[in-house]
């Protein structure tokens, strides 16, 4: 499979700041690459270089085999971009925005309006299509912006933090749309600060920080770097904690972590479901009442913490509570 997006040794400096420090990337045709990193990692800078908005100081970037520096116009014909902030004209209606983009793509007097209506329909904006964008919600603007990126049916798409600022419903809606795009054969580079998002959408993940790659692979590979699976259980009664600990210690491959307050025990294990069931059976024999029991694999958050020593922003407060509590 040919690489539709490729970078070799991309460097971009802003005065003292090195936004990209020799970035290498390749995204095979028809796949999604998740470019993951905290704020200021260099994600937007990379997207801007691929989309011809910014010249690198050094290195090579190619989109669909076309060098961004040598033939920027050739690149622009092949790409769709949805930037970090929705770039839609507030005073135009949704329809007018898409129609304008279509005309600038030379879809013509007939083609552009037709395409605009199609996209409005696809992004559930038909009813709002003839209203100025000023009246749109954040989620509607984002959808319109993504629609604008799709006007010319590009083969390569760049989405810079497409769900930042969306509510959970807007986010899952956006995920569905993105997955459909790739099912349609597009190649996609998606940046995100949300680990969950990269996990859900991306075939491959590249984690960057300070403009450098600090890890890459599939979500599973990255998780494996941090450590294996864990069994986690919550007890009904606090007095069972010690007993449960000794039972779990029998199956664990490391120390059992106990959170007295929430009566939660976590233990690293290997062997998957059989180990889990055996432990559960022994607990039952001992008469320990278990409220909740499950296998937990490390999240990308754990990956990030291990790699950079800092946490990323998680999708919601609730997620944060859920992901961090068991670790204590």
């Amino acid at each position: 499979m040919a690489d539709m997006i490729r970078a070799r040794g991309l460097v971009k400096r802003y005065g003292e700041v090195t936004a990209l420090d020799g970035l290498d990337l390749s995204v095979p045709e028809g796949t999604i690459l998740g470019l993951l990193g905290p704020n200021g990692a260099g994600k937007t800078t990379a997207v801007r270089i691929f989309t011809t908005l910014l010249e690198p100081d050094d290195g090579v970037a190619e989109v669909a085999g076309v060098d961004v520096r040598r033939d920027p116009r050739g690149v622009r014909r092949r790409i769709g971009l949805s930037g970090q902030y929705a770039a839609v004209d507030e005073y135009l209606t949704g329809y007018e925005n898409l129609d304008m983009v279509g005309r600038l793509h030379r879809l013509g007097r007939r083609g552009a309006p037709k395409r605009a209506r199609e996209l409005l329909e696809r992004f559930a904006l038909t009813d709002a299509g003839d209203r100025p964008v000023k009246t749109y919600s954040g989620g509607m603007r984002r959808r319109l912006d993504l629609a604008a990126a799709l006007v010319a049916e590009p083969t390569v798409l760049f989405l810079d933090e497409p769900t930042t600022g969306l509510d959970p419903r807007g986010r899952t809606g956006m995920w569905d749309v993105i997955r459909e795009l790739v099912d349609g054969g597009a190649t996609l580079l998606l940046t995100t600060q949300y680990l969950e998002e990269a996990d859900r959408l991306a075939d491959d993940i590249v984690v960057i920080d300070h403009g450098r790659i600090i890890a890459q692979g599939t979500a599973d590979q990255l998780k494996a770097q941090v450590g294996g699976e864990r069994v986690e259980l919550v007890l009904e009664q606090a007095e069972d904690v010690e007993l449960a600990r000794s039972v779990l210690a029998g199956s664990a491959v490391g120390a059992v972590v106990v959170d007295e307050h929430s009566r939660r025990l976590t233990a690293p294990v290997s062997g998957g479901a059989p180990v889990l069931m055996a432990a559960l059976a022994r607990l039952q024999d001992e008469g320990v009442k278990v409220l909740d029991f499950g296998m937990r694999r490390p999240t990308l958050d754990d990956v990030f913490l291990t790699l950079t020593g800092q946490t990323t922003r998680t999708t919601t407060e609730a997620d944060q509570a859920r992901e961090q509590e068991p670790a204590r």
Partner: protein, 267 residues
């Protein structure tokens, strides 16, 4: 040739988009026309009484000056509009499209001419209401209006460049004021430069805005033999001097603005 046609086609699409904004936010036009009307009334009825124009009628003298000032201020819309588009990421969108690289600027400056035409019509009506008259022929009057618009068009390219350079529309508005204010006041717009102190007078005489105003006054027939223009080449040949400036400004700022557009980064 076909690249040129494409550029104009793209420019027209962008211009149309800008004009839709004027239609959707009419307040903008209301305020850009209200302030010159206020200026006409303020100078015509309040300051005008203390400004002596030999052989003349001050209000008649005033109108060409106000026209020039207003269309120059109008040109700042170009810069503010572009700065705003950068801030909102719209320029990024345009720049990622396979369109002509100069079309956004052509479209922007073109739609601002339309804006200025509307403003001039409103002001002409105001002028006529307070006693201003065109005393020459229709072709000469049209030439006068065209010269004003042409000069403003050139200025709008300066503003385009500045608008792409500054971090926000607010900065553009303040920065452009620093340029347009002295240019339009230290001139023959509201008073006779003959009354200015030495170096200021020299500046006023060679200020291209003075030439535009002088040319417009002559083309509208608003001059009086009792108040001849100063004996400097710029004001003796105001049309030629204006055109030289127009060409010079365009020759410098069109390429500068286009280059800056290609580097523009959203902030």
């Amino acid at each position: 040739m076909s690249a040129l046609l494409d550029t104009f086609a793209d420019g027209a699409i962008v211009a149309r988009r800008n004009l839709i904004k004027i239609k959707r936010v009419p307040d903008l036009l209301v305020f850009t026309t209200l302030s010159p009307i206020m200026f006409v009334l303020l100078f015509g009825y309040i300051f005008g009484g203390s400004i002596e124009i030999p052989g003349g009628n001050y209000r008649e003298f005033l109108i060409a000056g106000i026209f020039a000032q207003t269309v120059i201020f109008g040109a700042t819309i170009t810069g503010a509009g572009l700065a705003d588009d950068i801030q909102k990421g719209i320029i990024d969108r345009f720049r990622s499209l396979p369109m002509s690289q100069s079309a956004v600027l052509l479209g922007r400056t073109a739609s601002d001419v339309v804006n200025n035409v509307i403003v001039i019509v409103v002001m002409s009506v105001t002028g006529l209401a307070i006693g201003w008259r065109i005393r020459t022929s229709v072709p000469e009057a049209i030439a006068g209006f065209l010269l004003l618009l042409l000069f403003a068009y050139a200025v709008s390219w300066i503003m385009a460049y500045l608008g792409l350079l500054v971090p926000s529309p607010e900065v553009l508005n303040n920065a452009s004021f620093l340029v347009t204010f002295p240019l339009t006041f230290v001139a023959n717009t509201f008073a006779r430069p003959e009354t200015f102190p030495g170096p200021v007078r020299t500046f006023a005489n060679w200020n291209p805005v003075s030439a535009v105003v002088q040319a417009a006054r002559e083309l509208f027939g608003n001059t009086s033999p009792a108040n001849p223009p100063p004996d400097v080449w710029s004001l003796q040949n105001p049309v030629a001097y204006t055109l030289i400036w127009v060409v010079a400004i365009l020759a410098v700022f069109v390429p500068l603005a286009i280059r800056q557009y290609q580097r523009a980064a959203s902030r």
